[in-house]
Point group: C2
Chain length 208, copies 2
């Protein structure tokens, strides 16, 4: 443990060190950076974190992070409300939004079924998804499952598929295949096999 000539400095370094992936040297570097900024800059930094934690809420419909009862995506009239894309957490929402390829709504599960980590269906927003589909089933054309292509993702896909079956809504899973830019010879056999089974008409490729 370092010796600091200032208790304020020590406290600040300790706060930063508690963040994931931030060691004590990095924490000190960040603190010294903040010290060099003017007071308003640091006040804004400080206030932003406080407000974030105190004021942020979760969308009542899709459980995405939000500033209001319903998030900006759920409120937007430009989004296709007949599509629901089911994701694990909000990082996935951001990743999909960044593709610019999806214009429907989301449903954030808040995790993935993982018995090893003690996460079961009751820990996720699955009941809320079932209610949402049940309530709006006339207006929902498709539920797209965009979960990780892991065993936990597959388990969750299977669980959701069975839960949604009674509502006669189309349920799809994002395509699994060779990543763009990857060389075929380095792809694993399971992915390569799946990409052959789920091959796409060439027309779909060029008219995307």
């Amino acid at each position: 443990m370092e010796t600091f000539s200032s208790k304020l400095l020590q406290a600040a370094v300790e706060e930063f060190s508690r963040l994931p992936g931030i060691g004590r040297k990095t924490a000190l570097r960040l603190v010294l950076h903040l010290l060099k900024q003017d007071q308003e800059t640091v006040a804004r930094f400080s206030d932003t974190m406080l407000r974030l934690r105190q004021e942020v809420v979760y969308c009542r419909q899709c459980h995405n992070i939000s500033d209001q009862d319903h998030c900006e995506i759920c409120r937007s009239p430009r989004r296709d409300a007949s599509l629901i894309c089911v994701v694990e957490d909000l990082r996935d929402v951001i990743a999909i939004e960044n593709t610019g390829q999806y214009h429907g709504l989301y449903h954030v599960l808040g995790g993935i079924i993982s018995p090893m980590d003690g996460i079961g269906p009751a820990d996720l927003t699955i009941e809320s998804l079932v209610e949402r589909v049940s309530e709006h089933k006339q207006n929902i054309s498709e539920v797209i499952m965009a979960l990780s292509t892991t065993m936990e993702g597959d388990t969750t896909n299977f669980f959701l598929f069975r839960k949604l079956k009674p509502f006669n809504v189309k349920v799809s899973v994002i395509a699994r295949g060779i990543a763009i830019g990857d060389e075929l010879e380095y792809a694993d056999e399971v992915t390569l096999g799946r990409s052959i089974i789920n091959r796409t008409p060439y027309e779909n490729m060029i008219t995307k």
Copy 2:
């Protein structure tokens, strides 16, 4: 630029991204971590940074970061006030304190003479060091220069040596156990500690 469903979230990610070495993905990870903490934890984080910037002062004697007019090291009766160790910045103070090999006082220059970066003697606390040595010369047995073993460090050593010569105070340089070209803050503690024990009279340096 990512699309966020919450302006609070976006603001928080942007604040973290402004810190050095923190990209947008890391910023998002840190923000999501803070969101998972309870309100008191985030309030303490926020408050610590604000207080750090607002309340921190610099020691009037050694220019180290401090909570009061004089820092804890300068105030301590257990420190040997006859020794002054001249360092570039407070990271070096922390590094030397961590070796447990030094029990004197410090003088923080606030940088190093570097014409390439436009930093001259007047930008540093050199005048203050000269006054300090002049004022306490009866009680000062040695000034130890612990600067980086770079060209800029050598230039600064030479400049300080000439400035301090009139006071007939012993001036030494930490031993070159540290590889030439390495920066002080990255040196391991054993090497750094050894280099303080084996400090060399400045004359030995220039006749090598």
